[in-house]
Symmetry: C2
């Protein structure tokens, strides 16, 4: 585990660099570009990713880097850093403080370290295989919740859901006590901190979900695809996370309408 601790410390140094860029950038206007798929990207996303890539290549030149805004580096390496410079670009543009920087370290196919860094509230969750997840350095844990009927559910943006997926979202809304929307990556930090019981998403890619895995797991939660399989670098675009393991099967069944 000595290796992982070194990498975990380094991941936090990456998050420090990212937070410094973002908290400075939001003080003034920044360039906005509409990508071919109509999704927005800003000069801030690019500046964060470039800085993180530079820090990684200086320190671990053999590692891979898969970021959202630039071409992949060493994608076949054993250790790969998966970066989302700003997860929640729409909240970022809208000035809603639920966007964050996501940093994952993958060994082979699976994530072993994850950092969720929230620049606007200065919250940081760090997950590291074999360790308890921390929020701002203090250990955290998911809360008990034995039934979806008592659960606080969260999901990011209902507009990301296709009509057929929306039926699954509707079933989850019906099965849970409360639903909140728009939390982006912070939802999964708050599952680890025991404030949210279930998170469900569609339309996510590796940059969005891999960092969440060690954070949720290290707090006692479960995160998987909708079939119940662990999330790896090769998973599909939808996942579910629960704080209490007893909710996992209930959530999977509700999602698939069984």
């Amino acid at each position: 585990m000595a290796d992982l601790q070194e990498f975990s410390d380094f991941a936090q140094a990456l998050a420090d660099a990212s937070r410094a860029i973002i908290t400075d950038a939001v003080q003034r206007p920044y360039e906005l570009e509409i990508k071919p798929d109509q999704s927005p990207v800003t000069a801030v996303d690019k500046a964060v990713e470039d800085k993180i890539r530079q820090l990684i290549s200086d320190r671990f030149p053999d590692h891979g880097v898969l970021g959202e805004e630039r071409a992949d580096t060493n994608p076949q390496a054993e250790f790969k850093w998966i970066i989302d410079p700003i997860d929640g670009t729409l909240p970022f543009l809208a000035g809603l403080p639920v966007f964050g920087t996501l940093i994952a370290l993958v060994r082979g196919e699976g994530p072993v370290i994850g950092v969720i860094d929230m620049p606007m509230t200065q919250d940081r969750w760090v997950g590291c295989q074999g360790q308890v997840t921390t929020r701002n350095g203090a250990p955290v844990g998911c809360r008990p919740c034995t039934s979806l009927t008592e659960a606080m559910m969260a999901s990011s943006n209902p507009n990301f859901w296709s009509d057929s997926d929306r039926a699954a979202l509707g079933r989850m809304n019906g099965a849970t006590r409360w639903g909140v929307f728009g939390g982006s990556c912070m939802t999964y930090g708050q599952i680890a901190s025991g404030h949210i019981d279930v998170g469900i998403e569609v339309g996510y890619d590796i940059h969005d979900y891999l960092a969440l895995v060690p954070v949720v797991q290290g707090a006692g939660g479960v995160i998987s695809d909708w079939a119940g399989a662990p999330l790896t670098i090769a998973s599909g675009d939808r996942f579910v996370a629960v704080g209490d393991q007893r909710l996992h099967e209930q959530a999977l069944k509700t999602l698939e309408g069984a």
Copy 2:
């Protein structure tokens, strides 16, 4: 306007008191109660409202106070304070930093002062009739946006929308460039600060919407019910706010499906 300035300063003192209670309370567990309508209320909501009521009755004993959690005081007074101790109770419970305290002063039927205070990000918008809206003391303004097709739209919680209202939400989603959800009262601060172009809501009551009116109007925006009428203490539960006046008619037509 001397009167209003005094009231505006006092409204900010109320927000100071509220913020102190909330930022302290989130450090530890708090009591949660499920109201008969299944909506949640916490001991923090009640503590904030009680403190604000006490400060108002000490300073302006003849004023009315209409809060969300306690019985109305002097509801026939010329000046009435309308308080939502925590707007965005679900985000508050979920640990998402988009909840805030709303304080409005109504003279007769219409709001003349509004404060949106965000304890987690320490942001405060203050609107006062005849003055430019401020964010943390600095003047702000809505941004230009001439067409819904270019607009960032926001709304709080799609679960609050009935099936028939959802058709209107779907039309707005189709007509605008981007939609973000879950922003609660902060959406309307960010319309005033030029980060969001359109906000739409249903299921709101006077505690939720009156404080938003002076904030949006004092930044150059328009806020009305879905028929285009100004919001007063007697308005219904749905409203639309736009940063650029040229979007108002487009939004009203899209909402009604005309």
